[in-house]
């Protein structure tokens, strides 16, 4: 086997110039494609990381219920009867969108 491999390596037989050019073309196309894919996946990774960071930060902010958030109310309606309940709104921004939760106003 080693003999054959050495013989193959010493062989002067080669490809035609047309084949070499075609192979070069295909290889360069492949390289361009590879570069595009790497760049796209890098952008995707970065965007995903930003989204996840924003999501986790937003979730943490809502869970922490910061004191600077707004007071307001929520109305429960049943037929013509209603109840208005004082609540505190907790706001945060996740990926540029406002996310709000509310709870009974303490005290």
């Amino acid at each position: 086997m080693a003999k054959k491999l050495r013989a193959r390596l010493r062989s002067r037989a080669g490809e035609s110039i047309g084949e070499v050019l075609a192979a070069l073309l295909i290889s360069s196309l492949g390289l361009v494609l590879l570069a595009g894919m790497i760049s796209a996946s890098a952008r995707m990774l970065q965007r995903n990381e930003e989204n996840m960071t924003s999501y986790i930060t937003g979730g943490n902010t809502l869970a922490a219920q910061p004191s600077q958030d707004k007071n307001g109310n929520v109305t429960l309606q049943y037929g013509s009867a209603s109840n208005t309940v004082d609540v505190t709104y907790y706001e945060t921004s996740v990926n540029g969108k406002t996310v709000i939760s509310y709870k009974y106003k303490a005290g």
Binding site: E15, N73, V74
Partner: protein, 274 residues
């Protein structure tokens, strides 16, 4: 194949390279497409969060508003027997002839609902919590019969829980903060007196749903209702007529029977999905 390849002097390697390139390109494209789809889903997390917090806040508020409240429905049946005895007396005050006795029996039905908070204070009428819980208890006691039959023999004879699941329409929840996504509520009364709310929020065609079930605690004496009475009241009226005096004695006997059903709710289960 390797042996053949080593022996080969033909341009097969070019075809192999092309094939390899094709396979790699296809695999790469598939992986990138899947990654793009996953990234798109991750980008929707904000919308999912908006729906989730809107629904969970509403469910929590409802649970807190309704938990610990109690409703008592008292059905009352009043049997009244009126016995009227009419006697005629002469001018000396002696009875002439035999007295006539007329007896009439009537039965009346009423019901009353009291809603109290956890501290035992009555919740004022015309508040949504009071009206909603009162309706739930009424549905539980009277079932699906027409409201006009509540105060009748039919209403008196109803066994609590003898009905199919009832939907209570017209329950809404609205927030003063316009950035909160609106939610829709569907309230149902179960045969065991449980009260369940399906809270849903839809944005951009996607819906998040949460179901809150309030577990009932019921005490009911329908099988052996307490009886009050009989209470008897007698009134006598005397009227002078041309030939003498007519005396009318009216005896009213009232017997009151009540059936009391008390029901209160605590938070049972909260689950996602409709």
């Amino acid at each position: 194949m390797v042996r053949k390849k080593l022996k080969s002097n033909s341009g097969m390697s070019l075809l192999m390279a092309l094939l390899l390139f094709l396979v790699c390109a296809v695999v790469g494209a598939v992986v990138l497409t899947a990654a793009t789809a996953a990234a798109g889903r991750a980008g929707e997390l904000a919308e999912m969060d908006r729906r989730y917090y809107s629904v969970s806040s509403a469910a929590e508020l409802l649970a807190r508003e309704l938990s610990g409240k109690s409703v008592t429905v008292v059905r009352t049946k009043t049997d009244t027997v009126t016995e009227t005895t009419t006697s005629t007396l002469d001018s000396s005050g002696n009875l002439t002839g035999s007295p006539t006795v007329n007896t009439e029996s009537t039965t009346g039905y009423t019901y009353a609902v009291t809603v109290k908070d956890g501290a035992g204070s009555a919740i004022p009428a015309d508040t949504a919590v009071r009206e909603l819980l009162a309706d739930v208890a009424i549905k539980y006691v009277f079932g699906n019969i027409d409201a006009s039959a509540y105060e009748s023999d039919t209403g008196w004879g109803r066994t609590p829980g003898d009905f199919q699941e009832v939907t209570l329409p017209g329950v809404t929840l609205s927030a003063s903060n316009g950035d909160v996504l609106p939610v829709t509520l569907a309230a149902k009364v179960g045969r065991d007196g449980s009260l369940s709310f399906t809270v849903a929020c839809t944005e951009d065609g996607d819906t998040f749903t949460m179901t809150l079930t309030m577990k009932p605690s019921v005490s009911d004496d329908s099988g052996n209702p307490p009886v009050n009475g009989p209470n008897t009241e007698t009134t006598t009226e005397t009227e002078n007529t041309g030939s003498g005096t007519e005396r009318t004695e009216t005896k009213v006997t009232t017997t009151t029977t009540t059936k009391t059903t008390a029901i209160s709710w605590t938070v049972g289960t909260v689950s996602t999905g409709g």
